[in-house]
Symmetry: C2
Subunit: 760 residues, 2 copies
């Protein structure tokens, strides 16, 4: 929504001293500010400084707290009777004297907040399962008087939705927890100060609706008023730490602090499925460079500020339930930090700050958070590509996304990644997160006429099953299409309920206050089990699959009689089968009515839930055994077996993944790979160079994403047996980085069982 | 929504023993049950029994409590920290041994509940203004964590809406208190028991929406689930009094008790603008007659049950603010009880119970509540018409509505009146109550180009004002039409916001649970100041109105130079002017988008707010002085003055009111009249007969409503000076009956200033 006030700069001009450009001064436009002011850096990592003494002390103290937390199964402490809001807690510190950047979620480091608005049952479950008592007053308040998102959703669900959910054909739905995935443009606070943002939101409110009060206009007007309330709350919260963020930041330290306060408001008020941090690197570099140029700070001090910001992001904690931890173990919160990327004007957006941010993995060692995400292109300066490859190799904590695809498909060079692979244009897009449907299980539903192979319940529609001893491909395909069409409709409508209720009972005012009022909303569905689905269809087409039935005639196992091509081995037909399934499914998704007319997308992403999803899925025609994990995300199957697995090496596998069509899965395609260091070459420089070349080639072929791990399985086996030796061993799993010791044993086994490529 | 379960009688058949008919057994249909089973009564009042000893004791005790309450300015006691819900309070009694019908709003008689869901500010204001302390915990809960209706509304209001509201061109909006006006079909509990109703609502839930989850389907599904929760809560509440209402009532006493529990659930969970009781007379008579026929009870016991039900309705109290009391003084709650009426089959619906219910005014004396409302027709049996006229004359506590118009326009003989004059088909319609727009003030806005004559603020659109010394009729009419069109649009959109938020934050689950899921909703706007608006336009047309201006040129007074016809004197042109204004306004209303596609209606009703509205309205072209009360409802002006007043007697006044077109004001047309007993004839019988004849003639002419008062102004003057002599003097004011001593002095003066007709 364009501003209709006719303001010239109404902000403290010393804050903007030395900044260039005009457009961003007259409207809220952080991208324009960045484009006008950032200094591209094409050099190497030689300028980087080691950890400051202050940061070292803080990090040492935090490590101690982490040990306590680890011994207490991931919970240092928990609140039970202060519903967390932007202003619910007084200021908290780790070590006030040493902190250059301040602000905690609660008043005590690592203490997990009580966040009942998404669902009181889940908040209580988190308390009880961690040995804390439920507060009866709070339980009464959020049961009898203040309804929660979770209750609203289940009030509106149909029996069919409950069945699909409990039988796990649709899984991981954000109906008992916050949907997350929304990234506030936290930079706005630093550049404009809260008062200017309030003025612009008031302007938006005045121009919301043409006077006719339809439901959508009323809803938006209420939301913008809630956003205004949240902006004032952010000021109050910052003031409790002694800062006045009503005006713009004047220094790099203030810019980082202001921006972090914005994020802090978000995580105080929401326990979302992913609370991502956004794209702040070039933005903050502008402030740092100005202070460096003025001689106000040294490079060492710049690194100190960045290290301390990152340290804060490493401290973010949310109360979680055992069920949640089983799906996504290791307590990820997806404080995804998007780095680098190219500008649409041809310059790269790489600044020294991208180096500084990755350098935190050296200064403080590898860590799961923030979720370091490099927006990669072979057009990025070589110095940075080399450094990124080096840090990925050394830390196994970095993911890469194809920045060329992002710019092409989102029309912006200010895209940030939410969670793992979800693109949103910063401050302009929000996502309705929708977890995923199990398309591998849908293969079995197509065969069994909608009866679940595990629970024997009629879950899908009562279509005619396949009854013979073998499966006719043409017959199957028609049945699979019918079942996918049913699943897409049910799935979208389930999500419609969820997002209606989330807006109603758990609206993210603090985050949306820092975004445009006139938002583009995506409706993010997701697909689980794509590789097994594709391989199963290939098996049915070419493998002469014989059906094994139980006493009731239900198909419960499958025996392919012939070899068949599988996805992940650079076989075009198998890879195209995966593409066809995705395209057919997203086409059915797009036919549906979506909440707030949001734009449907889908993802190939399971994060670590592939283990739980696999447990709920019977034997599949591709030869995968019942209960075994699905391959995560868009990964090719890595199961042992006669037919499955990446048999042709890393590059063939990457070629297959690169063949997947991003246009059909605009919410992202996740691929996780491990390569044995020896597979990359003999010495360090060769290995770094080869990894960089692999990334260049992979992304130039149009692949969307990769999690890079460089280690041998021997290391993991040793870490599994001797966890005390590897307290900080961090690896990339599907969707995030995690401390290996924090994975469940089942998930550790899954990771170990994956192919660690010994050859390219 | 028709039932799709295929149940035959699944209820205790002894409860239905002796009842006739089939349809009502297979679907929730209380009207059909009544039609099949009621016994019309065409006799007189000779069968009636005096007050029972038990009731006498209860009434005596209640009188004592009323005195305490009166001494404490209408507040016996107040809760401050128990948000009132259906199940929030344990059982309470007045005198348990004597109570045949039990159930209190809180645990103590007359104690006012704490009802924050409509708005915490209003709930706190009610506490503070009555000398109670605000509970800080409750304030925090309902400010920080649980949003209220009031907050939601003001979050979405536009500045224009706030201006229109604070300048009182739109007035009395239910944006800080409950909208009320919804009448649950409380009979359903008695006839079916809660379990059967739950089963049917579950059936409705299963058939809500065609799987596509649009916002309206999601909303309705959540609402029905809330209704199911409320039905279970009603069972819990009844059980606390020792009754199991899961099954149908088996006796008259149970039927009355079950039905009252339904109403009790409503008033425990809502502090609405009018909490009407509905149409229960013939329904309960069926149960009473069955028990009488079986010899289970005597007529004296039947009267005892009815008296005690009515006694309970006299005890209903809500926490109120001074601002509310100023608008509607005397603490009305509009427990409107609709009596008599004709059936569409030609039989009257009069039963002995209509006599019993009116007879409570004798047994316990006149009282404001329940709001006794006779659905009148000259086709009703003469015995009842005579008795109703007699009771009206003796109590001045009865209102009459035209049942012929109701049946014709609402297509049902099961219409009940909500509040004063608002028709709803029982269990099938609900109303979105919308207070009123001041069309008399709109005359002044048309003249002054949208500038308010009292506040001098630009409130309406900046249309060209009338600038000359006199007012050209044609010029004025165009300007008035423009202003009415603006007002209608703004008014409807304001109400759209209110009802969206009421559904969101203060949904009436306990009432709507006892109504059809597939409801017809009316969107009830209202008009204040119709007679002054019509007379002002007549003055402009015929009176050569000279304009007197203030120093800024704003028109502030008007001097008609000639006589002009006025509304209320049986002048067709003046009366038609009133009709034209209403028709033009409702036409503009009907052009608008209305919330949930509800059907727009309007009313001519001000209740006692005519005094406050008049205060906010400047001098008007008809000669009315600034600040003087508007004539209430559709009443002709009764102001002294050269031009105004009913100059041609009662019948001429009634003829004018009868000329108003109900089709354009389907939310009702209110008329309040007082006649000096001597004007009705010399002796009692003549007076009763004449009053009955007046009613017959008035309604046969198509008039909609009348409040009947029979007394002289001397009585009121004496009561004003010596209130202790008249503790129970009850009169009909516009919209309700009230104890005269509970009116503000200003309102007493207004009542006294009205024409008490000495001649027909």
């Amino acid at each position: 929504m364009a501003s209709v006030t006719n303001n010239t700069e109404n902000v403290n001009t010393t804050a903007w001293e030395g900044f260039k450009g005009e457009t961003w001064r007259h409207e809220v436009n952080t991208r324009d500010f960045i484009q006008e002011n950032y200094t591209e850096y094409r050099g190497n990592d030689q300028f980087l400084e080691p950890i400051a003494e202050s940061t070292d002390k803080l990090w040492a103290k935090l490590q101690e707290l982490f040990e306590v937390e680890h011994e207490q199964n991931g919970v240092y402490d928990m609140d039970s009777n202060i519903p967390s809001t932007v202003t619910s807690h007084g200021p908290g510190y780790l070590n006030k004297e040493e902190e250059k950047i301040v602000g905690l979620q609660t008043d005590v480091p690592l203490k997990q907040a009580f966040q009942p608005f998404g669902g009181i049952k889940m908040a209580n479950n988190a308390l009880q399962s961690n040995g804390y008592e439920v507060d009866e007053d709070m339980n009464k308040i959020f049961t009898d008087w203040s309804k929660t998102h979770n209750q609203g959703v289940f009030d509106a669900y149909t029996p069919e939705m409950r069945r699909a959910r409990s039988n796990k054909i649709i899984t991981g739905l954000p109906d008992a927890y916050g949907r997350g995935r929304i990234i506030g443009d936290y930079r706005r606070i630093a550049l404009y100060g809260i008062d200017y943002l309030i003025e612009h939101k008031q302007d938006d409110l005045a121009n919301t609706g043409n006077r006719t009060m339809t439901d959508d206009v009323i809803r938006l007007r209420e939301e913008v008023t809630e956003q205004l309330r949240a902006l004032n709350d952010l000021k109050t919260m910052a003031a409790s730490y002694g800062f006045d963020i009503s005006h713009p930041a004047e220094t790099a330290q203030e810019a980082i602090q202001w921006l972090y306060f914005g994020y802090l408001g978000a995580i105080k008020s929401q326990n979302g499925a992913a609370m991502s941090f956004g794209r702040v690197s070039a933005f903050l570099d502008i402030y740092i460079q100005r202070d460096l140029d003025k001689g106000l700070i040294s490079e060492a001090q710049a690194q100190e500020l960045i290290d301390q910001l990152v340290l804060k992001l490493r401290m973010v904690k949310f109360a979680r339930t055992p069920e949640y931890n089983e799906l996504f173990s290791g307590f990820p919160i997806w404080a995804t930090l998007s780095l680098a990327g190219m500008g649409i004007d041809g310059r790269s957006l790489v600044t020294k700050n991208d180096f500084r941010l990755l350098h935190t993995l050296t200064n403080m060692g590898p860590a799961p958070e923030p979720n370091m995400t490099v927006l990669y292109s072979s057009h990025l300066p070589e110095g940075f590509r080399t450094f990124a490859a080096k840090m990925a190799k050394e830390s196994s904590s970095i993911q890469f996304e194809n920045d060329d695809l992002l710019r092409e498909n989102w029309g912006s060079d200010d895209v940030a990644i939410a969670c793992c692979v979800s693109a949103t244009v910063t401050g302009k897009d929000m996502q309705f997160f929708g977890a995923r449907a199990n398309l591998c299980k849908a293969v079995l539903y197509a065969i069994n006429g909608g009866i679940d192979e595990k629970t024997k319940k009629q879950v899908g529609p009562k279509y005619r099953p396949i009854t013979g001893d073998s499966i006719d491909y043409d017959d199957f395909i028609e049945k699979y299409k019918d079942m996918l069409a049913w699943l897409a409709e049910l799935y979208v409508n389930t999500l419609n309920v969820i997002h209606y209720m989330h807006d109603k009972y758990s609206y993210e005012a603090a985050q949306l206050a820092l975004m445009d009022t006139d938002l583009k909303r995506t409706f993010a569905t997701g697909i689980a089990g794509i590789s097994h689905a594709a391989d199963s269809v290939m098996a049915i087409k070419y493998g002469n699959v014989q059906v094994i039935r139980d006493e009731d005639g239900l198909a419960v196992d499958y025996a392919p009689q012939n070899e068949f091509p599988t996805y992940g081995n650079d076989n075009k037909e198998a890879d195209d089968m995966a593409n066809w399934i995705v395209e057919y499914f997203i086409t059915q998704i797009k036919r549906q009515h979506t909440y707030r007319d949001s734009a449907p997308t889908t993802s190939l992403l399971t994060i670590t839930s592939n283990v739980v999803y696999g447990k709920a899925t019977g034997n599949t025609p591709d030869g995968r055994r019942a209960g075994k994990p699905l391959a995560p995300g868009a990964n090719p199957s890595y199961q042992d077996g006669k037919y499955l697995g990446e048999k042709n090496g890393l590059l063939a596998s990457l070629n297959s993944t690169a063949r997947l069509n991003y246009e059909n899965a605009m919410d992202g395609i996740s691929n996780t790979q491990t390569i044995n260091p020896t597979g990359l070459g003999k010495d360090e420089d060769t290995r770094i160079g080869n990894l960089r070349n692999v990334l260049d080639g992979y992304f130039d072929k149009g692949a969307y994403h990769i999690n890079v791990n460089v280690f041998s399985n021997d290391l993991l086996l040793d870490a599994q047996e001797n966890p005390e030796k590897y307290p900080n061993l961090t690896i990339r799993v599907s969707g995030y980085a995690v401390k290996f010791r924090d994975l469940t044993r089942e998930q550790q086994n899954d990771v170990i069982s994956r192919t660690a490529h010994d050859r390219m």
